[in-house]
Amino acid sequence: MNHVLYVRLLDLACGAFLLAGVLVLWRRDLAAIVRLFAAQGVALGCLVAVLGVDAGDPEVVGLAVGIGLLRAVALPWLLRRAMTAGGAGRETDPRVNVAASLMVAALLALLAYAVTRPVVALDPAPAVRAVPVALTVVLIGFFVLVTRRRALSQVVGFLLVDNGITAVAFLTTSGVPLIVELGVSLDVLLAVLVLQVLTARMRAAFGDTDLDDLRELRD
């Protein structure tokens, strides 16, 4: 692949990846949040595919397909199933409002650039230069996790963290060894399955899945 084209495609995929993450903060409709998460999965798959084609590594291209299927199809499908069983599909009153959330996202991006300076300094290749973008998504994921009240939004926060980390892995070294990558994907899938079952149980026990109801256990 021509180097200029490679850098442009890489930037495009990273831009889409980040945009989907930021938009999650903007939307309150849970169905839209899940759609954005699926779009981010597609962007991540494309990102990995671009890296694989450029490196001429068929294994990475294969992994890109697997990652795309898991994160753009399988996980959103599980989330949608949890949602249809649920009913009311809106993030009611998050702890931080939308405007402030978007401001925080900008600050998190600055933080990500500051923290990753040693990483970019070690290898200033175009892919490594995009690591701060991936780390921003990780931080946005954490932010969603602590500020959203609905169980499903929290799961999406956890998955944003995970998408961001996967992006860091591929941007730095074309991914960790294959066996670890497979194990990680399986663990994430199972974790979401477990959370889905727990969401259903919580709905049975609490009536709804607003996590503010989780106040029984405290000291």
Binding site: P118, A169, T173, P177, L198, D219
Partner: protein, 492 residues
Amino acid sequence: MTLLLTAPIAAPALAAGAYAAFGWRRGTAWLGAVAAVALLAAAIALAVHAVDAPRTGLGGLLRADALSAFMLIVIGAVAVPATLAGPGHLAAERTAARDARRYGVLTQGFVAAMALAVLAASLGVLWVAIEATTILTAFLVGHRRTRNATEAAWKYVVICSTGIALAFLGIVLLHFAARHAHVPSSGSLDWTQLTARAAQLDAGVTRIAVALLILGFGAKAGLAPLHAWLPDAHGQAPAPVSALMSGVLLSVAFYAVLRVKVIADAALGAGPARTLLLTAGLASLAVAAALLLAQRDYKRMLAYSSIEHMGLLAVGAAIGTRLAVLAVLLHILGHGLAKSVAFLASGHIGRISGGSRIDAVRGLAARAPLVAGGFGAAVLALLGFPPFGPFASELGIFRAGFAAGLGWAAGIALVLLLLVMGALAARTGRMLLGAPPDAPGAAKLPAALPVRLPRADAAALVLGLLGCAAIGIGLGPLRTLLDHAATVLGAH
């Protein structure tokens, strides 16, 4: 060698398969205990073979050195009493057949995942195994399906999975640094390769990676600041599962921290990892002391005591001299045995008093001497009384701290530890010896009816306590293994 290396993982995994295939019935009920004994036997055999030179198997995926073998012995030693108590627990709770089958599959899978974690040759496989323990134990924490159990399981999965995701980010960055230090791709997450090339690792990237790894695995080990899931999860899980989670799962996660520290010390010098561990350790001790002072639930009391002991381990690891490391390893075993006995006894107390409130339990020693004796002795061991193991190991950690010029840290830890001891001793004393309850709301126990324990449950309590006392009196052949494990951890 591959056979011996895979045996500790295969034995519980086969038992899990058997439970999945045949369900929990009379013929399979004791299979879990058999698998645990097999695991312990394989661990001892492995310790004999791997004590002076590491052994690899399964194409380099698994490696056993003295430290792995020691951790396997800890897993086996705690799994034996915990699985012995399993059938009694399920029978007493009148668990439905379907739930009992799931209990069997998940507990055995959980033990197998812990064995894989300590035998993994690479940081990546270790991570996968530790995250697998979270997934396998999630439904065990939520086993009772009550509101509280579901809440605890939710918090457990969300906090531990995100905490450990941080550790994965650390692994990714360490992998990046390793590839730039020309570590070959196949071994780029392997302990020995990483330690051997540590000097070439980029300091800036490695520093971020180590901080993330210690924070992430620390979350799973119950170290502050990501400890909030622990009292809920350990308080709500069935007693034998709490015994396993508190007794060994925390230590297995701490084992990962110890492995990371070896790489960090070689790459960055002792400073960065020491600062992180001291901060996390002292913060954990402070959290445990603060929340134990007003604790009203005895299962949560034991859970906070686990946070305290993990904090103490972190302080010991931060000190890092040979004496400190030996004491830390001994403390892992002593705490594992004592805490598992305490949790198993707490399960019986819960059935006698019908809850886990400290107020509901009074004068237990008169009604159920064996349960009360087991609980009391285990708490004494946890408080650091001789002749039990933790006495020797806590003494070792504090002596090492004052000798290594970290007297201020050891002093703070000692003060916090005394607070914890006071809180724990006062509550336990009331539960065991206090006057029988006559206030309304307190459990009305038929005083005439002595509480009889099934033989296996009694054996589990006694075995755990005997083990804990034995290592406090003399280490015997374990001494050589501990010496080699300390060398693996870079303590000279």
